[in-house]
């Protein structure tokens, strides 16, 4: 009757993180009426989707995807997204930031970046579809404000995050109760680091867009970052377009997501490069997070993910 204890009781960290994320995803699907997964096509959302598929295997994914599209996308990422959606037969809702700009609900920023403009289309879409739980791939290691984020995080009727109203998160019991109009954001990758994500992609063979691998690209240098030339603003006068071997560490609005110089063309080489890197992915590649010490905190308070 008593089972023989297995020889290894030390948990493998990736297996532990995977089991925790699957547990969180299942809890939320069990307790909420209308969940949705934010899907940007970046590596974190790719891992999120992979975990969600695992959580309900062999049943189909019990919720759809939502992409808030800034219109400033890398073509490879959109192609990857559409292929994945078609192959897996998923539901995808796209909220085009351009539509909000066209009808005057949003205004283009002087600096041309559209990352901060995603908040209003996101909140409008959540409200229109009455989504009550929104999965995201944010990690606590990304930013000091995210370090204090809960795994299941309550948002008020305006989508705002109030750090002082956060519920204590005890054991592995997640309290997602909310009143009408409120919703929760759910971050199953909270306890993952950038390196964990890469090791996991390698272990499970999670498909990711090609731009994460080194490739030759026409880029120009701004504020120490290699940005892609395009209609979204650049290069300005004095900024020279040059071909470079680069890869991306994050995928966001193309106007403010920088590439890093790299020769890593395989997953193994990318993992080795991330391991050796001495700069954080946001520091290396996100112009919008360099605005101030509290840039992310401010955006989160307004309803950003």
């Amino acid at each position: 009757m008593t089972p023989v204890a297995p020889a290894i009781v030390d948990t493998d960290h990736l297996a532990a993180l995977e089991s925790e994320a699957v547990h969180v995803i299942r809890e939320v699907v069990a307790e909420f009426d209308r969940p949705v997964l934010l899907f940007s096509g970046g590596k974190d959302s790719a891992v999120m989707l992979h975990l969600a598929l695992r959580a309900f295997y062999p049943a189909p994914l019990p919720f759809g995807l939502l992409h808030v599209d800034t219109g400033h996308n890398f073509g490879e990422v959109i192609a990857y997204r559409d292929q994945l959606v078609a192959d897996l037969g998923l539901r995808l809702e796209v909220a085009q930031v351009q539509h909000w700009i066209d009808d005057g609900r949003l205004h283009e920023r002087p600096d041309g970046t559209r990352n901060p403009l995603q908040t209003v289309p996101l909140l409008d879409t959540i409200e229109r579809h009455k989504f009550d739980a929104v999965f995201g791939g944010a990690r606590r290691d990304e930013d000091r404000a995210r370090a204090k984020e809960r795994i299941v995080s309550l948002r008020d009727a305006f989508g705002g995050w109030d750090p002082r109203r956060q519920r204590p998160e005890l054991w592995s019991l997640y309290n997602g109760r909310h009143t009408a109009g409120e919703h929760v954001r759910v971050f199953p990758l909270s306890n993952w680091t950038e390196l964990d994500v890469w090791h996991y992609i390698a272990r499970r063979g999670v498909p990711i867009p090609d731009i994460y691998y080194a490739h030759e690209r026409e880029v120009f240098l701004r504020d120490g970052m290699w940005l892609t030339a395009g209609e979204w603003g650049g290069p300005r006068r004095g900024e020279e377009i040059v071909p470079r071997m680069v890869r991306f560490r994050t995928v966001g609005d193309a106007s403010c997501t920088g590439a890093v110089e790299s020769t890593a063309t395989t997953l193994e080489e990318v993992v080795a490069e991330v391991t050796a890197s001495n700069i954080t992915e946001r520091g290396a590649t996100r112009a919008d997070d360099r605005l101030s010490e509290a840039a992310m905190e401010d955006r989160k308070r307004e309803g950003y993910f």
């Binding site: 493998d12 995977e18 049943a59 404000a145 309550l154 204590p168 005890l170 592995s172 700069i279 509290a294």
Partner: protein, 417 residues
């Protein structure tokens, strides 16, 4: 393969906890160049630091209000790793909302590092930190005697604190405490051995963190499998598939096990354990899997699978300790929700049975109310039965949340008596 350790830190105000956390991150190369630059800039702006060295405490600075007021409001999670182990550190503030935050941090921790300032020794607050770790049954407790540089790395000072702490720990039922003399500011005995403590021959703090056993307690406990949801694909490929999705809370689940689902009471046999990578024979505590049973039980979300000879208790009246986390005090008669495992039931707090004295972990007189950060015994009447274990025997199935049925706030952490 890397293993995983969840830990928490507890310390009084100004005993250098933020500096220790910063030091651990720094010395495991978990702080990258751009973060170091930012902290070096901030150190200069605020006129602190030692010479040109960045103030390590600033690594753990969080929200704007915290920086402006120079305080920490909330638990922050930090990540660092060595080649053999990944660490998830719940960094709990020492002063504001003290109990609320340390209870939160301790609830998931397998190890608690309690900091003591070598100049001050064991304080009243130190005993509270220790008591919270004991109360939440954190499996390992470590004492870090910090600021050894300010007492000239004096062995006698260290030994006296070590002994006093060990005595306090023993009286609270915590045994085998490991003690390390450190200077978080200068790095002595944190990640590298100090030449200034030749009398100390033990492991460094980081070596302890790397070698302390993890995950063992849960697999030695009776098997518990709370059902999260039923997976029924109803696809052409899997027309009749019916699996119980969940995460093994404790013990080991094996194919062939006879199981009982509680509170409903249905019995069956485990015919398979499914994962997306294929079937497996056994699943250990912590693993998320899908269980296939021989019989189609009415065992959905909220049921707990266990072996019939080691079942949890099925109760409609619950004796528990409540750690009150809300600004609004608890008075008997309160109607609340209890969330335990995968089941949430309505409940009435019928009685407050005694305040917990943290010095001794014994119960005093019955209070009229229970206020923020207080811990006390209570009796709850449940609208529907729950299958529970005593927190003392199973940390993973003995804890529950008390929730405000109106606004959904988490009111208390509950520990089944």
């Amino acid at each position: 393969m890397m293993s995983l350790l969840r830990l928490t830190t507890a310390g009084s105000v100004d005993d250098g906890k933020s500096t220790l956390v910063g030091r651990l991150l720094h010395d495991t190369s978990s702080i990258l160049a751009d973060q170091l630059d930012a902290v070096t800039r901030a150190t200069l702006e605020r006129g602190g630091g030692i010479g040109d060295e960045p103030d390590l405490a600033l690594f753990t600075d969080g929200l704007r209000a915290e920086r402006e007021q120079g305080i920490t409001i909330d638990v922050a999670y930090r990540y660092f790793a060595t080649p053999t182990r990944k660490f998830i550190l719940a960094d709990c503030p020492g002063h504001v909302q003290y109990t609320r935050n340390t209870v939160t941090g301790a609830s998931t921790a397998e190890l608690a590092v309690v900091l003591v300032d070598a100049r001050n020794g064991v304080l009243e607050q130190t005993r509270r930190h220790l008591a919270v770790a004991a109360f939440l049954r954190v499996p390992h407790v470590m004492l870090a005697v910090n600021k050894m540089d300010l007492v000239d790395f004096d062995e006698e000072t260290f030994r006296a604190i070590e002994e006093e702490f060990a005595t306090a720990a023993t009286s609270l039922g915590v045994d085998a405490v490991v003690s390390v003399p450190v200077s978080a500011r200068h790095g002595d005995n944190v990640a590298s051995r100090s030449e200034r403590t030749p009398w100390y021959t033990g492991l460094t703090l980081l070596e302890h963190l790397e070698t302390v056993p993890t995950g063992r307690d849960a697999v030695e406990e009776p098997m518990r499998f709370p059902v999260q949801l039923v997976i029924r694909p109803r696809t052409p490929e899997f027309p009749d598939y019916r699996g119980l999705a969940g995460r093994v809370a404790s013990g080991i689940l094996s194919v062939g096990d006879e199981v009982v689902a509680l509170p409903s009471g249905g019995r069956s046999t485990v015919t398979g354990i499914d994962t997306p990578d294929g079937p497996i024979e056994q699943a250990c505590a912590g693993e998320s899997v899908t269980v296939l049973l021989a019989d189609e039980l009415d065992a959905g979300r909220g049921e707990v699978l266990s072996r019939p000879d080691q079942p949890p208790r099925v109760v409609t009246e619950l004796d528990a300790d409540l750690c009150w986390l809300s600004d609004n005090p608890l008075t008997p008669g309160a109607r609340v929700l209890v969330k335990h495992g995968t089941r949430t039931v309505r409940a009435i707090v019928t009685e407050l049975t005694g305040t917990l004295e943290l010095d001794t972990l014994t119960h005093g007189e019955s209070p009229e109310t229970l206020s923020l950060n207080e811990i006390g015994g209570a009796r709850l009447r449940l609208a529907e039965p729950l299958a529970v274990d005593a927190y003392a025997t199973d940390r993973h199935t003995g804890g529950f949340l008390v929730i405000d049925a109106g606004n959904g706030d988490t009111l208390a952490a509950g520990l089944v008596a």
